[in-house]
Amino acid sequence: MRHTISVFVTNEFGVLSRISGLFSGRGFNIESLTVAETMDPEISRMTIITRGNDKILEQITKQLNKLISVIKVHDFTNEKHIERELAMIKVSHKTENRAEILSIVEIFRGRILDISPKSYTIEITGACEKIEAITEILRPFGIKEIARTGSLVIGRSPK
C-alpha cells in the first residue's frame, strides 16, 4: 500500500543521507522524497512516498523515529490530507495540434510557462494521479522532458 509520510528533521548537514541511507540500508522503498525548511529554519520537513504492508510501515516509522535527527514522523495515509506535486512538461507541438494541447492544459488547470517554435513547457500542479493522467494524454504529442517535484502533503484542518 502507498503511504505518504512527513518527517520533521533537524536541519543539519548530512540529515538527508541519514534518512535515505536508512531506507536503502533496510530495503525500504522510496517513490519520492522532497525536502525543504519549515517556518523554523532549524527544522526541515521531508515528505516521503513509500510502499509496504503494515508491518513494513511500522518498521519504517519506528526506525525513522529512532534516528537522533528525526523530531517527528507522521503518516497521513489514514487521515484527511491534501497532496500536491508540481511537474514541468516539455511537449512538442505542430500547427495542427496546438489548440488541442492548449485545451488539455486548460482542462487540467495547467499553465504554459514557455513557448518555442517546436515545444510548449507546461506547469501542472496536483495529486500524483493528475500528473500521471496529463502525462498520458500528452504522450502521443511527443513529450521531450519531464521534471517532477515529488509529492508534498499537509493535513486538512478540522472543520
Binding site: 533537524t10 548530512g14 511500522e58 519506528k62 526506525q63 529512532k66 537522533i68 535527527s69 528525526v70 523530531i71
Partner: protein, 569 residues
C-alpha cells in the same frame, strides 16, 4: 574544573574527557592528532597504545562490556578512521556504549581528497547510533557532551565524533555544558503500567511459560531483577548468547542458551511454550531459526527499550517499551501475594518437570572417554573448573565461541564478552585486553580458534607493553572449524578453503612478542598447563591446545530449520 578559560581545541578535548570521567582511552596517533597527543603527554588520561585501530575499538568495547562505562577510542584520519569500522559495527550490533573520536583533515581541505582524508561520518552513518563532524570549535563541548549522552542512554551504542585538525589548534573559551537537551531523542524508560498489568495477567494464566532473556538484561544491569522475577514465578529461563551471565548459569531454572547451538531443553521449551516472555532480546535469526515455526503456540510478551525491536521479526502480543531493569521492578512490585504465586508455581510444575526431563535426557555432552585428541569442550570445562567460574571470558567467533557459551557456566553478569550480532573474528583478544584494563586483578581468558586469533594477533604486543596477564587459549584444530562443520554436514565434505595447515608456531610467536607460550597435545596435560598459565601475572600467555580437528558443535539447528529440529551429538 578549569572553566571560562581560553584554551586550544586539543586542551578542550582533554578537559571534556576529564569532565566525562574518562580514565582510559584506546588509541593510535597520526598527523592530524599531533596537537591532541601533545596535550595527552601531560596526563592525566591513561592512553593505551594499540597496534591496529580495530584493536582499539574492540578494547574499548571489552572495557565497556565489563565495566558498564562507555569505551573511548582516539584515532587519526583516513586509514586510522576506516580501520575502526569493523569494531564500530561490532559494538553497534551488540548495543555497546562507546565514543570514537577520529581526527580529520583541516576543515579547508575536507572534500579535496587530501592526504589521509576519508569521509568517516558518511562511512559510519549506518553503523553508529549517531555521528558528528565538528565544524566549529564553539560546538566542540556540546557535541562531546551529546556524544557521551547518546552513547550511554536508551539502547546504548557507538557514537563517532570526527574532529578536523584546525578545530584542535583553534582556541575558544572552555565551558562544559551541565545538561544535554535533545528534543528529538527521548528514550522511554518506565514501562506503561497498563501493559505491565496486562503482561502479568497473561503470564499468570499461562501453563507453559518461558523466559527468553537477552543482552538487554546485562546492558540494563537487571540480572538481579530477572533472577528474582523468574524465581518468584518459578519460570524456566533461557538466555541468548548475549544474555549469558544475565541469569545465573548454574541456577536450577536455567535451561541454558537457546537457538542454533542452544540446548535441547531450551529449544524444545521455546517451541512448546504458551507464553514467551522476551526480555531485552530481539528475536535474532540465530535464535529463532525458521521464523514461521518459532514458538508457534505462544502469546509473546516483549520488554525492550527499543521500539524498533518489537514486532520486527516475530509478532508481539503484549509489548512493553522500557528499560528492562525498571520494567522488571514494576512487574515484581505488581506480583500477586505469595499464596497465589505458590499456586501458579504448582500449576506449572508439570511443565517444569517436562523441561527437567529434556535437560537430563539430552544434556550438553561430548566424548568424555579421554581417548584420542584433546576435546575442545574438555579444555573449556577445565578452564571453568580451575578459575572456579570466576574469570572474564572473551571469545573469537565460530566453534570456539559456541563451545565457550555451552561449557563455561556464567553465573555473573558482564563476564562473557563475545561478538554476538556481527560475529567478528578477531574480537576476543583485544576485548580481553580492554576487560583486563578495566579489572586488572581479574583472570581474563580469550577462548580462541587458530583462525580467529590471527585476525588481531598483533595486539599481543599491546598486552605485553602494559603487562596484562591475558590468557589466550587457542583451541587449535588447524581448520576454520565452524565453516568446515557446515561443509561436512551440508556440502558433501568438500572442504573448500577451510584448512589452515600453515600457521605460526604459537609458542615461538608468544615468546617473540615477550609473552609466555605453551603447547598442549595430550588431554592429561591440559590441567597442568592451565594452572601454570594462571600463575603468570606480568605478561600475556598463549596456550596452543592441539584439539580434535573433527569435533563439531552440537546440538545444531541447520540454517532455515525450526529450532526443535536439532542435530544432536
Amino acid at each position: 574544573m578549569t572553566k571560562n578559560k581560553t584554551m586550544t581545541g586539543a586542551e578542550i578535548f582533554i578537559q571534556c574527557l576529564i569532565a566525562e570521567e574518562v580514565k582510559t582511552i584506546f588509541g593510535f596517533p597520526g598527523g592530524v592528532l599531533l596537537p591532541v597527543y601533545d596535550v595527552l603527554y601531560d596526563g592525566p588520561i591513561e592512553h593505551i597504545l594499540v597496534r591496529h585501530e580495530q584493536g582499539a575499538v574492540h578494547m574499548a568495547d571489552g572495557y565497556a562490556r565489563v565495566s558498564g562505562k562507555p569505551g573511548v577510542v582516539l584515532v587519526t584520519s583516513g586509514p586510522g578512521a576506516t580501520n575502526t569500522v569493523t569494531g564500530i559495527a561490532t559494538a553497534y550490533m551488540d548495543s555497546i556504549p562507546m565514543v570514537v573520536f577520529t581526527g580529520q583533515v583541516p576543515t579547508a581541505l575536507i572534500g579535496n581528497d587530501a592526504f589521509q582524508e576519508a569521509d568517516i561520518v558518511g562511512i559510519t552513518r549506518p553503523c553508529t547510533k549517531h555521528n558528528y563532524l565538528v565544524k566549529d570549535i564553539k560546538d566542540l563541548t556540546k557535541i562531546i557532551k551529546e556524544a557521551f549522552y547518546i552513547a550511554t542512554t536508551g539502547r546504548p551504542g557507538p557514537v563517532l565524533v570526527d574532529i578536523p585538525k584546525d578545530i584542535f589548534t583553534g582556541t575558544t573559551v572552555f565551558n562544559y555544558p551541565d545538561k544535554v537537551s535533545i528534543p528529538s531523542y527521548q528514550p522511554t524508560y518506565k514501562g506503561h503500567p497498563g501493559q505491565v498489568k496486562k503482561a502479568l495477567d497473561f503470564i499468570l494464566k499461562s501453563k507453559r511459560p518461558v523466559v527468553y532473556a537477552g543482552g538487554g538484561v546485562l546492558l540494563s544491569d537487571a540480572s538481579k531483577e530477572l533472577t528474582k522475577f523468574s524465581e518468584k514465578l518459578g519460570l524456566p529461563t533461557t538466555t541468548t548468547l548475549m544474555g549469558l551471565g544475565g541469569f545465573p548459569g548454574t541456577h536450577p531454572l536455567h535451561m541454558g542458551m537457546l537457538g542454533m547451538h542452544g540446548t535441547y531443553a531450551a529449544n524444545m521449551a521455546v517451541t512448546d511454550t504458551d507464553c514467551l516472555i522476551a526480555i531485552g532480546s530481539r528475536f535474532d535469526d540465530r535464535v529463532t531459526g525458521k521464523i514461521a515455526e518459532f514458538a508457534p503456540y505462544a502469546g509473546v510478551v516483549h520488554i525492550d527499550i527499543d521500539p524498533t525491536s518489537i514486532s520486527k521479526n516475530v509478532k508481539v502480543d503484549i509489548p512493553i517499551v522500557g528499560d528492562v531493569k525498571k520494567v522488571l521492578k514494576e512487574m515484581i512490585t505488581a506480583l500477586p501475594k505469595a499464596a497465589e504465586l505458590k499456586k501458579f508455581r504448582k500449576g506449572i510444575s508439570e511443565w517444569s518437570g517436562e523441561i527437567q526431563k529434556w535437560s537430563t535426557e539430552h544434556s550438553l555432552t561430548y566424548d568424555r572417554s579421554g581417548k584420542g585428541n584433546i576435546k575442545p569442550q574438555y579444555v573449556i570445562e577445565k578452564l571453568y573448573e580451575l578459575t572456579k567460574g570466576d574469570a572474564i571470558i572473551t571469545t573469537e567467533v565460530g566453534q570456539n565461541q559456541m563451545w565457550a557459551a555451552q561449557f563455561y557456566k556464567f553465573d555473573k553478569p558482564r563476564t562473557f564478552l563475545t561478538s554476538g550480532g556481527l560475529g567478528t573474528m578477531g574480537y576476543g583478544l583485544p576485548a580481553a585486553i580492554g576487560a583486563q584494563i578495566a579489572f586488572p586483578r581479574k583472570t581474563v581468558i580469550d577462548i580462541a580458534g587458530d583462525g580467529s586469533i590471527q585476525m588481531n594477533i598483533q595486539e599481543i604486543a599491546t598486552a605485553v607493553q602494559y603487562r596484562l596477564p591475558v590468557i589466550v587459549a587457542i583451541l587449535n584444530n588447524m581448520v576454520l572449524g565452524m565453516v568446515r562443520q557446515w561443509q561436512e554436514l551440508f556440502y558433501d565434505k568438500r572442504y573448500s578453503h577451510t584448512c589452515m595447515s600453515v600457521a605460526p608456531d604459537f609458542v615461538k610467536l608468544a615468546e617473540s612478542y615477550g609473552a609466555a607460550g605453551f603447547k598442549v597435545t595430550e588431554q592429561e596435560d591440559v590441567e597442568k598447563v592451565i594452572k601454570s598459565a594462571l600463575k603468570i601475572k606480568d605478561r600475556p600467555i598463549i596456550i596452543d591446545f592441539r584439539v580434535e580437528p573433527f569435533e563439531g558443535v552440537y546440538p545444531m539447528v541447520p540454517a532455515g530449520q525450526p529450532i526443535n529440529k536439532m542435530l544432536l551429538v
